[in-house]
Amino acid sequence: MSSTVPDSLRELAAGYALGALSAEEAQQFEAALARSPDLAREVAEYREVNALLATGAGTATPDPTLRDRLIARIRESKVVPLAPRRPPIVPLLALGLAASAVLAAGLGLRVRSLGGQLRARDSALGVRDSVLAEREGKLAARERTLNTLLEAEADLAIAHLTTTGPNTPGIQLFWNRKASSAVLHAFRLPPAPAGRVYQLWFMRDGVPVPSQTFNSDPDGHALVQAFTVPEGGGFGAAAVTIEPEGGSPAPTTPVLLFGAIVAGS
């Protein structure tokens, strides 16, 4: 009905909802999607179709203990250590990019060695056992992370989010632009205060687009594995703020860490 969307794009709606478009088509479609509520409605309908198709997927039922495992897992993920130290809030910083080329080269090596580890682990895991289900799940998450890094090839973009001073927290962000997937690794980052979390923002023309919330462990480490990057692309930088649990649609506190996104080699 909208006259602004050409038929050639409109015809991609079903393929988009299925995830069957090429990367290029998906990008074009998403650009049109952001401007056309009509198109968004069409995609939403196909997603309802997808949901109904799931009911036709078979009659396999989950193990009765799965519900308890879910509740246990969300409780586990909510644990915030007692009396965490509130990290210093620093004003938004411009990032020196001199180090980024060195960083990118170093990461190339690291990604290759991770690949070797993955292959070694795969062969060691030749025989699977249902007793290993829990570990397999963790391994699968790790594999998704590695795939995000390994399969990006030239489409890997990297940001190093920092503040000033020695021994300050840092965040490495790896973005597989081909797969719209990213991995975040934080270090020396004190756990957020009770009831608060860290939130990652992708910056487009200075406007923060909300992404993952996360928290660090008492050692100051956090690893957010293979999460989906917000739609639309065009991100030039990334930032992190402290937000209420559940995250915010726009930052409510000053930027804590910031870094430009650098395209891979």
């Binding site: 079903a14 196909y46 309802e48 198709l53 009911t55 039922t61």
Partner: protein
């Protein structure tokens, strides 16, 4: 999804998700009871492994728990959102596992319907009969499709293949495959609209 005639109207999925977003575990549990069945069946159909399917379902609900605030009702139902999260996790996992390993798994678990029913699952009897009813509606809708259309949809939906991968697999022109997928999805949409329309706010 539930419109069972009961004395008190059931809490909507949206309201439950909102409560889960504020830390209400029971609300998340209720969402699980309503949706875990079909999501698990989908994850199992895609991953062909019970442990993987269960991990996918766990992670889907954990993500819903963490990101409840990000759910946009304007973009569709909670069921559609959960399905999208679940399907992309399951497909990610299978891609990570590698195609070769997966083909072997599939051969071993060729018939998901024949898999041993390990449990009665979380569904209450009313939920289960509703699920069977929906499965029948979906089967009816799929029966409208031509065999090539159904095949193309299955390759896209369960195997996560792109248009060009489907074309390659079937040895057919890309344009033909694109049209086939589009027409098949349109037919499904038209046939299933009465069922998802009632789930919409």
């Amino acid at each position: 999804m539930t419109t069972a005639p009961t004395a008190t109207a059931p809490t909507s999925d949206r309201a439950l998700l909102e409560r889960a977003g504020r830390g209400d575990e029971r609300a998340l549990g209720t969402l699980y009871d309503r949706h875990a069945g079909p999501l698990h069946a989908l994850a199992y159909r895609i991953t062909a492994e019970r442990a993987d399917a269960e991990e996918v379902v766990l992670e889907t609900f954990c993500q819903a728990w963490r990101e409840a605030a990000r759910f946009e009702a304007a973009r569709g139902s909670v069921a559609a959102w959960l399905t999208m999260l679940c399907r992309s996790r399951a497909l990610d996992l299978v891609r990570a596992r590698g195609r070769r390993a997966r083909l072997a798994d599939r051969a071993a678990a060729a018939d998901p319907e024949a898999a041993p029913a390990m449990s009665r699952g979380a569904d209450d009897p009313a939920g289960r009969s509703e699920r069977l009813e929906q499965a029948r509606q979906v089967a009816d809708a799929l029966a409208i499709l031509s065999a090539p259309q159904r095949q193309a949809i299955e390759l896209a939906y369960y195997d996560g293949l792109s248009h060009s991968e489907i074309a390659e697999r079937l040895g057919e022109p890309l344009g033909t495959v694109k049209t086939r997928v589009r027409l098949a999805m349109q037919k499904l949409r038209d046939a299933l609209r009465p069922y998802y329309a009632e789930a919409r706010p």
